[in-house]
């Protein structure tokens, strides 16, 4: 039996947009993308953190439009391909047409893990445009393995060629990953690939990605230096080193990806991406990782605790995209605090 080849997918320039408040310059983007390309990373995601059409008051206005980023980055790459994220309800097929015109290779259509049926329109459009089309099931810890497999089957039936189990909250334990990837592998067509997207809130990004590979995943997301929401994504250079020790083929040059992380990604960080008490709480309670900075900003503005905000967001069983509720929760906590005094 030959060792499986793992296709690595870098998130610095999409998930990494969250901790950068979507303020990455064209030069920084070009530098990181070219570094990843030279290191042999086959696929790089370039989009607003919340995907195409994410530019908004709710999620933040970026330094440049998705179209500007894509037109700048795509022509620079020698071997790497570029993907975009598209969350139905935020972005539209019209946005995807523009991205396709910029020369992208892959579209990842993302829905909450229970709502796969809103992706039909966008997955079909992706296939019609000849794109490598991925169904991306977010907050996958919220439902059990069989329910996730059923949602994956829906996306496959619309035409998705790869199905992702996405641990948006960085909440899953390795056994949770094993169960979900195995359930997907059992029901999906043999030619349908399976992917795993981790967050490092419980420091399990690498461990969970390995569990995913063992259960049959062939695409793994990570980001150089871990630049991503919450405590970041699976640190890509660490995963490459571990994969190399285990004899898993990734095609990525370890020294080069280490250098990208150290010399190109680390210097652009506005704050250290680490497991601080807020991101730890996110991982511990299963809250959407992207809420981190929004909760910290609202906490500072309204004089309340960011952990209280995040805990309340968890109690309200919020899902990705509900950033607008954070300010409301902060105002309510402030009113309660004032009432106590």
């Amino acid at each position: 039996m030959s060792t499986p080849r793992i296709k690595l997918h870098d998130m610095c320039l999409r998930d990494g947009m969250h901790p950068k408040r979507h303020q990455i310059s064209l030069e920084q983007m070009a530098s990181i993308a070219c570094g990843l390309d030279d290191a042999g990373v086959p696929l790089i995601e370039v989009t607003h953190g919340d995907g195409l059409g994410g530019a908004s008051i709710n999620y933040g206005f970026p330094s440049h439009s998705d179209e500007d980023y894509l037109r700048h980055v795509v022509p620079l790459l020698k071997q790497a391909k570029v993907s975009v994220l598209l969350i139905p309800g935020i972005g539209t097929v019209e946005d995807l047409k523009i991205a396709a015109d910029c020369g992208i290779h892959t579209v990842r259509v993302a829905t909450l893990c229970t709502e796969a049926d809103v992706s039909e329109q966008h997955i079909k459009a992706g296939r019609d445009m000849g794109l490598d089309t991925v169904g991306f099931l977010m907050m996958a810890h919220m439902i059990d393995a069989d329910q996730l497999a059923a949602q994956g089957l829906l996306m496959e039936s619309y035409g998705a060629q790869t199905i992702y189990c996405t641990d948006s909250a960085g909440y899953m334990l390795p056994a949770d990953v094993t169960a979900r990837i195995s359930a997907l592998r059992k029901v999906l067509k043999p030619e349908t690939e399976i992917g795993f997207h981790g967050h490092h809130n419980l420091s399990l990004g690498v461990t969970n990605s390995l569990a995913a590979v063992e259960a049959g995943a062939t695409r793994i997301d990570g980001s150089a230096a871990g630049l991503g929401a919450g405590a970041g994504n699976t640190p890509l250079e660490v995963f490459v080193a571990v994969a190399q020790r285990m004899g898993l083929e990734t095609g990525v040059d370890l020294y080069k990806i280490m250098d990208v992380a150290e010399e190109r990604v680390l210097p652009i960080m506005d704050q250290q991406i680490r497991v601080d008490r807020d991101s730890l709480l996110i991982g511990y309670t299963g809250v959407y990782s992207t809420f981190l900075l929004f909760a910290q900003r609202a906490a500072a503005r309204y004089g309340v605790s960011s952990r209280d905000i995040l805990a309340e967001m968890g109690r309200l069983r919020t899902v990705g995209g509900q950033e607008d509720l954070i300010e409301q929760v902060a105002l309510e906590l402030q009113a309660k605090g004032a009432a106590r005094v």
Binding site: P88, E94, L112, D324
Partner: protein
Amino acid sequence: MKKINCALIGSGNIGTDLMVKALRSEWLNPVWMIGVDPESDGLARARAAGLKTTSEGLDAALPHFAADEIGIAFDATSAYVHAENARKVRAAGVFMIDLTPAAIGPFCVPPVNLEAHMARQEANVNMVSCGGQATIPIVYAVSRVQPVKYAEIIATVASKSAGPGTRKNIDEFTRTTARGIEQVGGATKGKAIIILNPAEPPLIMRDTVHCLTETTPDEAAIRDSILAMIAEVQRYVPGYALKQGPVFEGNRVSTFLEVAGLGDYLPKYAGNLDIMTAAALRTGEMFAQRAGDGGLKLSAGEAA
């Protein structure tokens, strides 16, 4: 006061909820419920309530419209079917209130532009979208005080309240609502975002409305305008409530709303669906009232 007879096209959740509301109306008298599925719960309820029903679509009922003096038709079918329904109903000289996303007629958000539509004697008005009905009044409440260069709304609805039609074409919601924010709300540029949340028990519809004003916002005037507008909407949607705000930060004006339904046929949490049926009913009642005053001609009587 003679009530205006009306026909409800579509016997699904929306059409049935609308019927329950119309049966209480002082101005409207629901006469026909038109469906395509003989087994539908909506048609059974309509029969029980004494309405005339058919499961063979609009064509089966249309020949009776003149004799039954139908003045208003509500279409709660789908955008695809509406185009054909609109043509036939117009030929019969009946005023059409469109709850589908077809948007053949101009957008109607009752507290903002219903008066204007009545003044122009429109033959077909469209109810935009659930998110549009919930948020456009607030955008307008800000833009009538001072120019709004950008308005953005985020509608969060319970997964259970998003039907298959919405799910198959969610882009239609974002596009149509954004257009309504511009055309009716008065923002130079509009954006709409919809989030589905599967929590149990289902959450009540939440809406956030962000406006960016061109100049420093006049906080007192905007607050008064928003509160007055909320009171207007509450006249037909009692569960329309301000949760927080308006919050001012620079030129940003943010308003946080919750919309609970009446729980007529649809569950209370589905305020997103209730606000559509309530707004459509309100539109019908206002037209009926105006027709009763002699200020508006509802039936052209061409089919008679």
